[in-house]
Every structure is written in C-alpha cells, then in structure tokens.
C-alpha cells in the first residue's frame, strides 16, 4: 500500500451533483480494490493558470488515498474517460512523508543531544575548578 494524492479538475459549468457522482465513482474504485480513502477535499472553483480546452476556470477536487498501483491505474483510466474531467494529476506522497519523518527525528535527536550536552558541560567545569 502506498499513499497517493489524486487531484483533478472538473468542468465548472457542470452541476454539483455531477461532481458528486464522479467523486463516488472514484471512491468506489478505490474501496472496492482494497484501498482506503483518507480525505476528499473539494477545493472549489479556481482560475486556471492557463487555458485547457477553452476553459479558463475549473473545479478542483483532491483525493488522498492509500492504495496500490492497480487502483491508481484504474482511477486514472476512469478520469480519462469521463467527459467533465478536464485534467488530473497523481502524486505519490509516502516516500516524501518518510523523508520528512527522518528529518524530524534527526532534528529531535540533535536537540536532545544539545540539551544534555549543555547540562553536562557546566558540571565538568565545576569539577575542573575543584581540582
């Protein structure tokens, strides 16, 4: 299982229910394939940075899922087929998350070491002074 983010843009002139339908369809693909949905975020209407198929605006939807490659493949296929979907992007996030955790751990360890080091140092100097 890996973590992915699937973001797609829906034609903004399409009705709200239509977008919900797409969401449930994708949800169905993920859950039936044994994946889990962590978050569905409707980011709402946004201006596109460039024109796509004559569209200047788009309705952004973000899925955060835990799934394997086959599920993602199927999701992408579905998105490609669906007419109201203008564009989609899948990003794998788990390796990035692991890297982040490593950095956090390292930082914490270093902070701890610095704290203990600061405590130990004065004690040593007192001993030296006594000698």
């Amino acid at each position: 299982m890996r973590n992915y983010e699937i973001m797609f843009i829906v034609n903004p002139s399409v009705a709200e229910e239509e977008i919900d339908k797409i969401d449930t369809q994708i949800e169905g693909v993920v859950t039936s394939g044994g994946g889990a949905i962590e978050k569905i975020e409707k980011m709402g209407k946004r201006r596109l940075a460039y024109e796509i198929d004559k569209h200047r605006e788009g309705y952004y939807v973000l899925f955060v899922i835990a799934a394997n490659g086959d599920i993602v493949k199927e999701c992408e296929r579905r998105l490609r087929v669906m007419d109201p979907v203008i564009k989609y992007l899948t990003v794998r996030t788990d390796d990035e998350a692991r890297r982040l955790e490593k950095i956090r751990n390292y930082r914490q360890k270093r902070a701890e070491r610095r704290n203990t080091g600061a405590k130990a140092a004065p004690a040593q100097s007192i001993e030296e002074a006594m000698q």
Binding site: A49, I52, K87, L89, L100, I103
Partner: protein, 84 residues
C-alpha cells in the same frame, strides 16, 4: 592572475553584497508542496519561468524540490507554463 588578486581588496570595499540565504533552510520548510501556490509563486517571476538559484539564493537541495513542485503545479494548472 596575480595582479587581479591583488586588486581585489580595494574592489571589495566599494560595494557590499548581502549574503543570500536559502528561504527554505532558514524558515525550516521541509516539504515544498505543489499545492502551495502562494509559496511557489514567489519563485516564478512574471514570465513564469523558474527563478534561478543564483538570484533567489535557494540551496541546491531545496531548488531541486522546488523545481519538482513547480512542475507538478504547472501540470495541474495551478501555475502557468508561460505568460503571454
């Protein structure tokens, strides 16, 4: 070559350039997310090109991550490829 080096100290006094620092290192931004348009747009000037490191002062590791993030954001139309 040697004569150039000897001239340097005098030249250095004439202007002082502020040392550039990597924004991501200083602010401890670990992950450069492609959805963070506000952050990314600081590194894409008007023509929508990615700002070179020599200008922004970003360290090489973060520049690499920044590049990836900007390219992802471009793909999903959060950032432009080029402006007219």
């Amino acid at each position: 070559m040697k004569s150039v080096k000897e001239k340097r100290p005098a030249g250095q006094k004439q202007y002082y350039r502020r040392k550039k620092v990597c924004k991501f290192c200083v602010e401890r931004i670990d992950v450069i997310n492609y959805k963070d348009v506000k952050l990314l747009s600081q590194f894409v000037p008007e023509r929508a090109k990615i700002m070179p490191r020599r200008i922004s002062g970003v360290c090489s590791r973060h520049q690499r991550q920044l590049n990836d993030a900007i390219k992802k954001a471009r793909n999903i139309a959060l950032l432009p490829f080029a402006t007219e």
